[in-house]
């Protein structure tokens, strides 16, 4: 049962990697900062099955929300296909005349494999175009470079202060009624590149993303 006095937030996880997804970790980081006593929360995850459109109740969950937070990995410098399918289905759902909350605030958290978070720029532009098409209230994005590495280092003190500030800003903006324009946050790992490379390789081996005998090349930052 939804408490109608509470504001509603819809979190959209755009990753298909299940519990291994870095996106899920970033989503939880924001979600935990928003108390259940104040918000009705809806969680949606994109699906791998291609043979059916997204169900109406899922699309309604987005349409009713006061705030929508999209969290996803960068794919081919853009949106993952499964998330794009959700946006297409949602847009079609609205186009046929279904009601939606035009005042909904839109945020996104995107993470990429590269240490350079600025490569997420075009994904931000796509989400801004989506918001503009539907007259939604686009707010800002948090762009995270080397997402999987940030996930395993984020609990270490002093390493991710900017990420914590970005989360705090997102939560504060969700609570606020201000329409002041906000800049995007670019989160670059603070760990020196050679250490970062070793952590990344460890993570990839552990996650079986590369073979155990694979010798990665050092990348120049």
């Amino acid at each position: 049962m939804l408490d109608e006095d509470k504001k509603s937030i819809c979190f959209v996880n755009g990753s298909l990697r299940g519990k291994k997804a870095s996106s899920l970790e970033f989503l939880k980081d924001v979600e935990l900062r928003l108390p259940d006593t104040e918000y009705n929360k809806t969680f949606l995850t994109v699906k791998a099955k291609s043979k059916e459109s997204y169900p109406e109740n899922m699309l309604k969950g987005i349409a009713c929300a006061d705030t929508i937070v999209f969290v996803f990995p960068l794919h081919n410098y853009g949106l993952p296909g499964a998330l794009m399918r959700l946006l297409e289905d949602y847009y079609q759902y609205i186009e046929v005349g279904n009601k939606y909350n035009k005042a909904a605030k839109v945020y996104m958290i995107v993470n990429c494999g590269s240490a350079r978070p600025e490569i997420n720029e075009e994904a931000i532009r796509v989400m801004k175009n989506f918001s503009r098409r539907l007259s939604l209230n686009w707010r800002f994005a948090i762009c995270i470079g080397t997402g999987p590495v940030v996930v395993i280092t984020k609990k270490a003190p002093f390493l991710d202060l900017k990420l914590k500030r970005a989360y705090a800003e997102m939560v504060s903006d969700i609570k606020s009624s201000s329409s002041e324009k906000k800049d995007n946050y670019l989160i670059k790992p603070l760990i020196p590149a050679p250490i970062l490379t070793r952590i990344k390789n460890y993570y990839e081996r552990k996650g079986q993303m590369i073979q155990k005998n694979h010798k990665p090349q050092q990348t120049k930052e």
Partner: protein
Amino acid sequence: MNTLLVLDKDSKTKLSEDLKVKVVKTLEEKGHWVEVVELGKNDVSPCLGCLLCLTKHPGECVTKDIVNEIRKNVKKYSATFYLTPVLFGHFSSTIANVMAKGTGSHNWQVIIGFGEDIDDEEKSTFIDLTAKHHGKADIVHPGMNRQVDVFVSRSIEDNTIICAALKTYAG
């Protein structure tokens, strides 16, 4: 010269059909043998992002769909053309999934977006999504320095202009 042309069959319009016919005609006149593959949302599974196609079994996707078959034969194509509707400045989900699975020719790729209601910002986003990051500009996948071209069509006249441009170097 073998050329693969992939298009999104769920978004067929008068504009996209005109574009397909003109592109195929242009390429055939330049001596290409063109194989047209029309795919829809229900034909292509999304990329899971597992990266196993890069690491454990290179070139092979864990989901066995028609795209996996295209991917297996990718080396036989000198060029790959993608015809996609432009949605919010992005490729359609179908074409995004096809591209993410490495179906592009290792020599030359052409991405043509279409849509009569694409606004200027969406057009610019679509072009930057390709031009700023693919081919030689690809920093995440270094070494993939194939030629990648991008065009956007918003009208039948644009289709003609794009094909005239292709004629100058598609030989």
